[in-house]
């Protein structure tokens, strides 16, 4: 299918004798908001880590836009258009929120040792552009009032938003979010969802790991379920809620109400 943006074939990842991800083959549709669910330890984060190059797969391959990106380093994958956030936020704690966000764009001349001295004019021009864009993105995720705060001092939920803001600065086509709503209060979650949907309308593809079933069932299509490293379900939220295996294995509590 030509509307597949991210394609996994036989992805397997072992930790010693333990198989965390077991022969996962998936096609992620361009422009979708794909939900990835599964019990704790199902291998969801590990799968993200393999996709983004943070971990090497034991076997299998990853294609991004038809290009084989298996085993590429995380920095290269980000440049190739694949952005991710972390389940446990990783802010640059002793840097301002604004600096956290301004870091992300690639190709900054000022990032080279001679840049600030020999190319200071173009560096300043770039900085102005990047700063304007950073302010825009921070405003978008409602963090602008905290721009001058140390990123290590903002709240956990705000850190989740900061992660999203950082990723957006790189303008990736595919954004992998690892439990964006965990530990985030309902108001902020609603806001986060509206931001995700807005970005999705602009053409970005999302893959979202989430334990919050309301979140997944209302906003993600398709839904993919992982258990013990294997794909056990793939379908619409409606199908998911009717699937006997899923009901038993994972959604039991939700299905009651």
């Amino acid at each position: 299918m030509d509307d597949t943006i991210l394609s996994l074939r036989g992805i397997t990842r072992d930790f010693g004798p333990f198989r965390a991800v077991d022969d996962v083959s998936l096609d992620i549709e361009r422009g979708s908001i794909t939900g990835l669910i599964g019990p704790n330890g199902a291998g969801k984060t590990t799968l993200f880590n393999v996709l983004t190059g943070a971990l090497e797969p034991t076997a299998g391959s990853v294609m991004l836009n038809g290009r084989d990106v298996t085993g590429l380093a995380p920095d290269h994958l980000f440049s190739a258009g694949l952005g991710r956030t972390f389940q446990i936020p990783r802010p640059f704690a002793r840097m301002s929120v604004l600096e956290n966000v301004m870091l992300a764009p690639g190709g900054q001349v000022g990032e080279r040792l001679h840049g600030p001295f020999l190319q200071s004019a173009s560096m300043h021009r770039q900085e102005t552009t990047i700063r304007d864009r950073a302010i825009e993105v921070l405003d978008f995720v409602t963090l602008l009032p905290l721009a001058d705060q140390a990123a290590g001092q903002i709240s956990g939920g705000q850190m989740k938003l900061l992660e999203l803001a950082r990723v957006l600065m790189g303008d990736p086509q595919v954004i992998l979010l690892d439990e964006p709503a965990a530990g985030v209060n309902p108001t902020l979650t609603k806001l986060l969802i509206s931001k995700i949907e807005e970005l999705n309308r602009q053409g970005r593809t999302f893959v979202i790991i989430e334990h919050d079933m309301d979140f997944v069932m209302q906003h993600c299509t398709p839904v993919i379920a992982l258990a013990e490293g294997r794909v056990v379900f793939r379908g619409t939220p409606e199908e998911a809620q009717k699937d006997p295996l899923l009901l038993e294995a994972y959604l039991g509590a939700v299905a009651v109400d």
Partner: protein, 325 residues
Amino acid sequence: MIGVISYLVFFSTVAAILAIAVLGLNLQWGNTGLFNGGVVAFFGAGAYATLIFGGTPQEGQLGGFALPYPLALLGGMFVAGVMAWIVGILTLRLRHDYLAIATFGVAVAFENLMRNAEALAGGAQGLRGFERPLFDALGGGLAYNSLFLICVLVLLLAVYVFLERLIRSPFGRLLRAIREDETAARSLGKNPARIRLTSFITGSVIMGMSGGLYGTFYAFISPQDVLPILTFQIWAMLIVGGAGNNRGAVAGAFLIWGAWTASGWALSRFAPQEVQLYTGSVQFILIGFVIVGMLLWRPQGLFEEKLVVSQQGRTATKELQGDRR
């Protein structure tokens, strides 16, 4: 009176030279989080190489190339940089404590090499035969020392301005991001390996400059000048002054060097004879106390690192933990 001034000039020269090395360490540790436990190796490489490049020929010994002084000093910095490049490629994959141990080992090896390689570095006798630039013209003495102090202060200022500009730029932002969380930086498309090496080499070149000036000042360098204690002193200066803050690094250098010389003087003056034999060891212990005490009571140092906030085209700094303006 002249005696006091002479002493102050002498003291300030050494303190300012060491401050340059502390600034180099601040780039590596304060900004990049690279734990260089072998500062003295790069300081020493700069010192030895400067004297070898700029000294007069000595019998049975390498060097004495008698290059013009600025070239000799640049050569010293270059050698320190090449050494950092080699050490960096081999060790920068190591994390914190392992990097510290590896670089410490490099420094010990360097000292041993200098102590034993007579043909290269004069062995235990050290390197002699260096003529200080303009020394004869000015006839030595206070006038010369004052001029030398001014030159050192100008270089200190230049290094300071260079580093301030660097750390306020995207380069500095990248260094801090790698210091804070390398994994997150990678996930945002940054290549930590390259930038860590750049920072390590740049910091070491600055240490090499410090060493070159030190060797010039004494017109002599020997293995006794590149003992591990100097690494600890430079670390104490940075920790007391405030890692991540260049002003703190300079202030720490003057403070710790002042405390060091004062304690040496006080011990020789007031301590009982039996203790005086161990002045060096007592000072060693004191500097250990200063480092540990500072890390316990004020880990951010006297001058806290400032947060770079840059709103509306203006770059300013603000206290990291203090209240908002």
